[in-house]
């Protein structure tokens, strides 16, 4: 039942990605079909996560596969919320394939049991996980917005207009949105790190243990912090801001995807 729901979710995301691409390159500019397909995928995704929650009795995010499923769910959810206000259908062209790849990757790595040993699951853990994941999801969107900014900027600089470009929002609004996402993402990430280290302080005995995951989030946090500071005080914006946003997300994502195997961390289901 559960596997079926997740498979359907992945399929819906794939179809959504396809329809977003059709939207990008041709088709009706006012079409809401791609967003509707994505919303349908999101509903499937939600019911899959809910049904698993009731099956297992806890929200499983400790293992890589589960984390991916949770993360992509948040990302799509936030995008759909944003779509209500900003009408950034173009963004869906990046979010949908990303969501599809993440659900696919979740199948590939498998979900394992991921049960958290009793005693570790105190109040701080779900809070830490939720905040950290929310922050990551917001930065995933900021990454997509930055990517579109860079594409648009490049075309304007090179004086090549293409049909694709007509669907893109203006540089000004992309840059503003990027800033808004940073303003939301940074506090979430900060709180995520703080609650995490509080939990670590309680269960591991020390707040900071130079765990690779801690280090990578620390680097990303410094990067985003510097970006926010630069934006507010020194007029850091446009292309440089977009590049920094993307780099910051790559640091987070890079460790999330590959770092684990090279530098085992106490994240990822190892609680001892």
């Amino acid at each position: 039942m559960n596997a079926v729901l997740f498979t359907l979710t992945a399929a819906a995301y794939l179809i959504a990605a396809g329809s977003f691409f059709v939207y990008l390159f041709r088709g009706d500019a006012t079409s809401r079909l791609p967003t509707a397909v994505l919303l349908f995928g999101f509903v499937l995704h939600t019911s899959a996560l809910t049904s698993r929650f009731f099956q297992q009795g806890f929200a499983a995010v400790a293992v890589m596969g589960e984390a991916l499923l949770f993360h992509s769910w948040l990302m799509v959810g936030i995008y759909l919320l944003m779509q209500l206000k900003y009408r950034l259908t173009v963004l869906g062209g990046i979010i949908s394939p990303l969501a599809f790849l993440m659900t696919l990757a979740a199948f590939a790595v498998g979900s394992g049991s991921g049960e958290i040993p009793p005693g570790f699951s105190t109040f701080w853990l779900p809070l830490h996980v939720t905040l950290a994941f929310l922050g990551n999801a917001v930065f995933a969107l900021a990454f997509a917005v930055s990517l579109i900014y860079l594409l648009q900027e490049r075309r304007l600089k090179h004086k090549r207009m293409t049909a694709l470009m007509k669907r893109f929002p203006s540089l000004e609004s992309l840059d503003r949105l990027n800033y808004t996402l940073l303003v939301w993402g940074f506090p979430l990430m900060t709180l995520g790190i703080l609650t995490g280290s509080l939990w670590a302080g309680i269960h591991w005995g020390h707040y900071w243990s130079w765990d690779p995951r801690q280090i990578s989030s620390g680097i990303a946090w410094l990067l985003y912090g510097a970006l926010l500071h630069g934006r507010i005080t020194a007029g850091l914006r446009g292309k440089k801001a977009a590049l920094l946003t993307m780099f910051g997300f790559c640091v987070v994502l890079g460790y999330f995807l590959w770092g684990e195997t090279i530098f085992p961390s106490r994240h990822g289901g190892r609680f001892e």
């Binding site: 041709r26 088709g27 004086k159 207009m161 007509k166 203006s170 540089l171 503003r176 446009g238």
Partner: protein, 429 residues
Amino acid sequence: MQNEIVIVGLNHRSAPIEVRESVAFENSYVRAALGRLHDYPSIHEGVILSTCNRVEVVAAASDTHSAFNDITEFLAEQRAHRNSLPLDDHVYTYRGAEAVRHLFRVAASLDSMVVGEPQILGQLKEYYDTAQQAGTVGTILHRLFHRSFSVAKRVRTETGIGSGAVSVSSVAVDLAKRIFDRFDDKTVMLIGAGKIGDLMARHLLSQGVRSLMVTNRTFERAVLLAERIQGSPIRFDDFPRYLKMADLVIGCTGAAEVLVEAATVEKVLRERKQKAMFFIDIGDRRNFDPKINDLDNVYLYNIDDLKGVADDNLQERANEAEKAEEIVRNEVESFVRWMGSLEQVPTIMALRQRFEEIRRKEIDKSLGGSLKDLSELQRAALEDMTAAMINKLLHTPISQLKRNSQDDDDEDSALYVAALKRLFDLEGK
């Protein structure tokens, strides 16, 4: 007899402007002209279309040959009092499916001078409304025009034919919209009081820019222009100081000298906290340092760049036009099919009537002769039997005919209708 659609007209390709003008209908005169057109016995329905690029008469007529002659005469009369350049060489005529295709292409702006320009559809609607008010529109033209409006809409939404600016100043505005989200908090600086810069500034003002600064070497000219377009004049020596307030800078002094260096812009950007700037070098000679485009958050387009973008867009419109032609092709087919089905119903009725007449005649003959001794009951049975026979005989051909018109084969359908008419001599009825 069956109505057919005919079009007689001339456009920007078939006739020079003087000829077009001589035939053009004044707005106030169109209604009266429609009445005159309708008076020709060959014309059952009619719409007149008259814009700067075309004059066309669209009509429904049973006898297309005399309709062509009548409309040509009508157009010639219309211009009789103006001049007498020969008209015949410039007039084109279409009938049937070709006429439908032509009108659909006109509505979809495929026949326009600038392919994809949006005005033609509105004009078409206006002239159609006038004709409707004048009472010269019937079932056929009603359907034809409404179909053409929806074809135009389909083409506009399903192809990119109307997208992409094709004039220099609209390209510039289009680009500005890709850089800036809104204009009501933007300031424009216009350097030089040349005509094209003036035009460009007006274009931007119509987009709702907040304020406009005008500078020129001769201050008086700056003041004059500023007054005309509601800007504020600035002395030429002062303009670099104001540069940091400008989001869009238009240069068109006509002089071949670099007025704004990249280094200056770099400094200005720091003062503006890197807020984006758009430089438009719209004169024939360069006023802005080309290196400006290498700076982050600044975009520089000169006149050739703008023309290049306009050309790209024109090319793209041409590509999109091919898709549009395909849509038109399909729509013409389905319209012709509808016309065919119009013809079918009367044919079927005429066929039934003809059979009924024969039956009646033969029964009357028999009942008056050899069968005159039949009882009331037997007579009724005879009536029923013959009526059932005719129904059974006609059932298969009629249902075949109907089925045929529902399939794609409108040609077959038309062929069957024509064959039936000939075989049973239905034409005269």
